[in-house]
């Protein structure tokens, strides 16, 4: 099952990248997430590993993930190492006038064939899609807030420099 959610954000790719590169932010904007914990020495970057858990229905589902792509400031991708088989990607592209398009791609597979596997994938997709939509919306809100804070900081610095 593959699910995509995207939106336009009033911020340049660098601001979005800085926000997404910090693992501490994930608990703030990812809907349904209950754990995003650094595993090992690398906090972020290629090869960084995290233990993640998302509440979907009756269970907290997740496992160990590893960052497999880290192309600043455009792409972050991960694959699951243990737990539910899945891949995820943040794709950030410039969209003109200081805006960017962010796309959250998520693909997962339920182990075990048969009708139960197919029904589980479809049933879980309802929750996953809803959570991804909320995630993208909350990410947009937080990044735009961060962008306004940065712009205000720059204006203050410019005013202080003019006075000096």
């Amino acid at each position: 099952m593959r699910i995509n959610e995207s939106t336009l954000v009033a911020a340049p790719p660098e601001t979005i990248w800085n926000y997404l590169a910090d693992p501490e932010n994930y608990l703030r904007f990812m809907s349904g997430i209950t754990h995003w914990e650094v595993v090992g020495d690398r906090v972020n970057g290629l090869g960084a590993r995290y233990r993640i858990l998302v509440r979907i229905g009756a269970a907290e589902v997740g496992g160990l993930i590893e960052m497999v792509e880290w192309s600043e400031p455009f792409d972050i991708a991960w694959h699951s190492v243990t737990g539910v088989d899945h891949r995820g990607r943040w794709r950030i592209r410039e969209h003109g006038e200081g805006r960017s398009r962010i796309e959250f791609r998520f693909a997962y597979g339920v182990v075990g064939g048969g009708i139960a596997g197919v029904i589980t994938e479809l049933a879980a997709a309802l929750t996953v899609r809803r959570q991804m939509r909320r995630t993208v919306r909350d990410l947009k809100r937080q990044v735009e807030h961060e962008q306004r804070r940065l712009e205000a900081e720059r204006r203050r610095a410019a005013r202080q420099a003019a006075r000096a």
């Binding site: 229905g57 009756a58 269970a59 182990v111 589980t120 049933a123």
Partner: protein, 290 residues
């Protein structure tokens, strides 16, 4: 030169064959657990838990992540112990199927043709002190239901009561193994059928306690049988909402000293579980619906 023992006759060979089959079905071991099988069973368990039982497992992070523990649960649902499957699902998705996890069950549960195999492969082992010790020594959390058949067949109107029937073996097990006790409190299981009586007198009259270690012969109303005596073939559980809460670990030596009193620990554990069960019961507005 090899000496091969030849069967003395068709009758003795047949008897040995049947004995082996029966003893295999009546036992389950640590190595029977199969993570791949469990992984493939999780989607179906998730579907049933999510949509049929609207299950919720709270605070599973209270199970120590890096050491063994004795998980002590209240037993509900007659012979169809849906809360065990729901807890196993929650454990496996939270910690991963790779982490060993065992549950103790009565030999009769393990002997069932299909469910028994599922239980074995998901880590269920025959209920005995030695098996539990072995699993804990191997570093795995072990789930036990001290109340056993006594508690799981209590009448539905006593569903919100912790009733271990005075069984304290789990405390000695935790003390000997030096592991903490983690209470696991569940509600809703006793609403999957209308449990009427444990049938203790009937079981005694039929000498079931002597023959198959059963002190009860429960009587209930359940699907698809209607009146169900014994619940040996199980029943189709009603879609009762199941909620499970995992309480913080109890470190016995730290809380009760180096020479703890078993009765005191028993009173403490059951009181804590009763308090949590009362809290869960207060959240419910209707039977079955939750």
């Amino acid at each position: 030169m090899y000496y091969v023992e030849r069967p003395k006759g068709i009758r003795s060979a047949a008897r040995r064959f049947v004995e082996e089959r029966v003893s295999n079905r009546l036992s389950a071991h640590l190595e029977d657990r199969d993570p791949d099988y469990l992984r493939e069973a999780l989607p179906l368990l998730w579907l049933i838990s999510t949509f049929y039982f609207r299950a919720e497992v709270r605070d599973i992070g209270n199970v120590p992540a890096d050491r063994p523990a004795l998980l002590v649960g209240n037993h509900s649902g007659g012979n169809v112990i849906v809360d065990t499957f729901i807890f196993s699902l929650a454990f496996s998705t939270y910690f991963g199927v790779e982490r060993p996890f065992h549950q103790l069950a009565h030999n009769l549960a393990i002997a069932w043709p299909v469910a028994g195999d599922l239980l074995r492969k998901s880590g269920t082992i025959s209920a005995s002190h030695e098996n539990a010790e072995q699993a804990l020594a191997a570093g795995a959390p072990v789930l036990v239901y001290p109340g056993g058949d006594w508690e799981t067949h209590r009448p539905s109107w006593r569903g919100n009561e912790i009733d271990f029937g005075g069984r304290k073996g789990f405390i000695r097990l935790a003390l000997e193994a030096g592991v903490p006790i983690v209470p696991v409190v569940s509600i809703g299981g006793q609403e999957t059928a209308l449990f009427l009586s444990r049938g203790t007198r009937l079981a005694k009259t039929l000498r079931l306690d002597k023959l198959v270690r059963l002190k009860v012969l429960p009587i209930s109303l359940g699907l698809p049988w209607g009146l169900n005596v014994g619940d040996f073939a199980g029943h189709l559980p009603l879609p009762a909402k199941i909620t499970i809460e995992v309480l913080p670990p109890i470190d016995l030596e730290r809380e009760f000293g180096p020479d703890p009193d078993v009765d005191e620990i028993y009173a403490h554990v059951t009181a804590q579980m009763q308090e949590a069960l009362d809290g869960l019961a207060a959240e419910r507005r209707f039977p079955v619906i939750g």
